[in-house]
């Protein structure tokens, strides 16, 4: 870390941001006092709703309505940003203070080319001639390591990958050599290998441009890789701030300690001895998507899953890990025939699942249940929680009284009160909703439970609880679990065996301890190396 003795670049002085009336607390951010220095990465961490993004938006002047009525001051270059006129503030926004967002693809306007959008940033704040702007943009693309800058310049956002879009956004943020760069979860939506590249790019920017970087994240792995200093927020208040090592190894505040303790350990466990009978047997399953039409038979072929072989016993958890587009979700959907496999066999509890039709298929589907990623959209907002859980048994012929009993038992089993049965999904938090989804999946007493990124949308502390819950219930009920995730830390904790997928193929399978200690495939090793903070134990 480079310790700077200069005056702070940016100084938040008792900044408070009000929440609209009717919210669960009066302030989104309360009395935030914090400094950002030149040539440093200050990581702002906290769980969802802690006020970290709102602080960033307030700094950029992007808050609307009641929330824009901030109090306190944000001092930059001798002025209080909150007191500037809209015009004066806009002149700083995007030139001296710039920002990169979480969703790189959504942050680019689909209507314009990447080149046009970065050029616009420069044009907004200067009178350079078009040719000079073009040269500048191309050199920025070069600096953020975009391959073939000329081509990217003319490309539309939908033609770029998520990582490339984020590089374009960073190029745009850097265009006018800003003093402050705010990056709001810039790598959360990206794969680990891409994340590692973007993180090293951001560190290079700090060193080459002397930029002060406010880096918002919920991921302590990322913090350990990139931060010079760390500020921890909780419910709108700053609880602790200090140098990286101090916060990570010797946190003072209980909340920081709890957060660190909840970070999933990259502590690969050994496989448990196989006890149950074989539940899932997948032989040479492939899924190929063909684009073509009646006029042009030979379209493009996309091989989403190629010749996959997996098997799981009762009580066992098999992890499927891989980056986006590796085919892990397609594979899990082939197993329950949400997607029809192109070829191969799937046996579930001794039944040939792929040959089933109509009524038989519906009946057999009881045996397999799935929990999705987003607990907010996977529950019907107009259906009471109890009804949502009882619906499955009812459809499959259980009578009302028995179904209600099952529903109440499960609600308790997932750690909620039975009164929850009469409430609607919106009355619950994300973690509680995911508990409800688990109860719903278990209501049919499945032999196989598929968890597709089921903890990815949750805060770490909640994530840890849900993982514990899944493991406990599995011990009690003995179902087989297929756990699809991009997060190797999570996989290393919960899985007995892990298979690694790349471009539709399972490249390697093994118990976590073996796989992590000596992976045979270079791809597996690359994935492991890219996990942020891989060599570190938190909490």
């Amino acid at each position: 870390m480079i310790v700077s003795t200069q005056a702070p670049l940016l100084h938040w002085d008792r900044l408070s941001v009000p929440l609209p009336t009717g919210a669960d607390r009066p302030h989104a951010v309360e009395n935030l006092s914090l400094d950002l220095r030149q040539n440093e990465v200050l990581c702002l961490v906290g769980e969802s709703g802690s006020g970290k993004s709102v602080s960033a938006m307030a700094t950029m002047g992007l808050l609307k309505g009641e929330m824009s009525q901030t109090s306190g001051a944000i001092r930059f270059a001798g002025q209080d940003l909150t007191k500037l006129s809209p015009d004066a503030r806009r002149q700083l926004t995007g030139s001296k203070l710039s920002m990169v967002f979480q969703e790189p693809i959504a942050s680019l306007n689909p209507f314009y080319t990447a080149g046009a959008q970065v050029s616009e940033t420069i044009r907004t704040h200067s009178d350079q001639p078009a040719a000079a702007i073009r040269e500048k943009v191309l050199s920025l693309f070069e600096e953020v390591h975009l391959p073939n800058p000329e081509q990217i310049f003319r490309a539309y956002p939908h033609e770029l990958s998520g990582g490339q879009c984020q590089r374009v956004m960073i190029a745009s943020a850097l265009a006018l050599d800003p003093a402050v760069l705010i990056a709001d979860e810039p790598t959360t939506a990206l794969d680990v290998t891409t994340q590692a590249q973007i993180l090293s790019l951001i560190l290079a920017l700090r060193d080459n441009h002397n930029t002060g970087i406010l880096f918002i994240t919920h991921d302590f792995g990322v913090v350990s890789e990139i931060a010079d200093r760390v500020a921890v927020m909780r419910k709108g208040q700053l609880v602790e701030v200090g140098p990286r090592e101090q916060i990570l190894t010797n946190p003072q505040h209980d909340y920081t300690k709890a957060l660190l303790a909840a970070v999933p350990k990259l502590a690969p466990r050994a496989a448990r001895p196989v006890q149950g009978k074989p539940i899932l047997e997948v032989n040479s399953v492939s899924k190929t998507y063909r684009t073509g039409s009646f006029l042009r038979k030979a379209g493009r072929e996309v091989k989403a899953v190629v010749d996959a072989n997996i098997h799981i016993h009762g009580g066992e958890t098999l992890g499927v890990v891989g980056e986006s587009g590796s085919g892990k979700t397609t594979l899990s959907q082939c197993i329950i025939r949400m997607v029809e496999p192109t070829s191969g066999q799937v046996q579930i509890a001794g039944k040939d699942f792929l040959s089933l039709k109509g009524k038989e298929l519906r009946k057999a589907r009881q045996r397999v249940q799935i929990i999705f990623q987003d607990p907010y959209t996977s529950l019907d907002p107009r259906q009471k929680v109890g009804d949502a859980i009882a619906e499955g048994p009812l459809i499959h012929g259980t009578d009302m009284r028995e179904a209600t009993k099952i529903s109440h038992e499960l609600i308790e089993a997932v750690g909620l009160e039975t009164a929850a049965a009469d409430r609607y999904p919106h009355e619950f938090s994300g973690g509680q909703r995911q508990r409800i989804c688990i109860a719903r999946a278990l209501a049919l007493q499945p032999d196989l439970l598929i968890a597709d990124e089921s903890v990815s949308a949750l805060d770490v502390s909640v994530q840890a609880q849900i993982l514990d819950l899944l493991a406990d219930i599995q011990t009690q009920r003995g179902f087989a679990m297929l756990f699809v995730t991009h997060d190797l830390r999570v996989a290393s904790q919960i899985c007995d065996r892990i298979c690694v997928m790349q471009r539709g193929q399972i490249v390697e399978t093994g118990a976590p301890d073996q796989l992590f200690a000596n992976a045979k495939e270079p791809y597996t090793r690359a994935l492991l190396a890219a996990v942020p903070g891989a060599n570190r134990v938190f909490g």
Binding site: M60, L62, R90, Q91, L92, T93, G94, S95, S98, M99, F101, E103, A106, S107, L108, N109, P110, F111, T113, E120, T121, T124, H125, Y156, H158, E159, M169, S172, S293, L295, R296
Partner: protein, 305 residues
């Protein structure tokens, strides 16, 4: 290339279905001879009329003959005055094109900007006022609005002519009656399309670049909102066609809408069939144009290959 072949094929198929359906519906719903000649006609008169118009042949033969002629562009002669149907339609068509065009332009010029402004000043009195007017616009049946306007401007104030199409002044009321509904629909859809776009992350990113609000609205939000507005502009053409039938009748506007009404009431089969074909063809072509402009506008479809 493939795109064009598929589109041309679909266009032909749609028109074929339209021609066939109108033929079947009209021929099976009533006997045109009795309808034309009235209940007092003698058997001999009926016989003559049948053979004169080939109505004595089996229905399927009539259909084949009709289809064959239709492909050659010949929709037969009016049962009423014996003139070729296309001559009858051709003298009315420009009037409807004129009225429809003026109303459509009026709807776009009023509706789209109103929707944009309502979205930009969401929740303001201005927004609410626009939405109230637009609800009135599409809730008020256009024949009723037409009659109200005739009462006020022709009978009471006596400043606008109530019927006909002989001067500029004649088009004001019918175009307004027809266009107001469409403007109302367009304003609402433009507003919601704009609101959706304004909530996107790229709009926030544009703001974070320091781009001025006016430029953000015009260059960043509008082109993206335009994609859904254009779809609606194609769909409301259906309302426009339905509207011309009513409005032309109210204002005695000599267009094909009114021709359709008179042809139906006088059971002039040939004219009705041809009119339905012309209207359907116009709709299909305009929707094709909408599709094309959509394709040209959206980089995702323009450069998907």
């Amino acid at each position: 290339m493939e795109f064009w072949i598929t589109r041309a094929f679909r266009l032909a198929l749609t028109l074929f279905v339209v021609v066939t359906l109108t033929f079947i519906l009209l021929r099976t719903s009533y006997d045109p001879v009795v309808a034309m000649l009235g209940p007092d006609a003698t058997a001999r008169e009926i016989e003559m009329f049948r053979s004169r118009w080939n109505l004595d042949k089996p229905l399927f033969d009539q259909y084949l003959a009709y289809l064959g002629n239709a492909i050659r562009g010949d929709f037969g002669n009016s049962f009423r005055d014996g003139r070729p149907v296309f001559v009858v339609i051709a003298e009315r068509f420009p009037q409807t094109l004129w009225l429809g065009g003026v109303s459509y332009v009026f709807a776009i010029v009023i509706g789209v900007p109103a929707g944009i402004l309502a979205a930009l000043y969401r929740g303001s009195i201005f927004d609410r006022a626009i939405m109230v007017v637009s609800v009135v616009g599409f809730a008020l049946p256009n024949f009723f609005l037409g009659i109200l306007m005739i009462l006020l401007f022709s009978l009471v104030l006596q400043i606008l002519p109530s019927s006909g199409a002989s001067s500029w002044a004649h088009i004001i009321m019918p175009a307004f009656a027809l266009g107001l509904t469409l403007a109302g629909i367009l304003a609402r859809f433009t507003r919601s399309a704009m609101l959706e776009v304004l909530s996107k992350t790229y709009m926030l990113a544009a703001e974070a670049k320091g781009i001025r609000p006016v430029r953000r609205a015009i260059f960043h939000a509008l082109p993206n909102a335009a994609l859904s507005v254009i779809t609606i502009m194609g769909l409301i053409l259906g309302n426009l066609v339905a509207g011309t039938v009513v409005v032309e009748t109210v204002f005695a506007w000599p267009g094909i809408g009114r021709l359709l009404v008179t042809a139906i009431s006088s059971k002039d089969l040939a004219v009705v069939q041809a009119l339905v074909f012309v209207i359907a063809a116009a709709m299909v072509l305009i929707n094709l144009a909408v599709d094309l402009s959509y394709r040209m506008l959206d980089p995702r479809t323009r450069r998907s290959s």
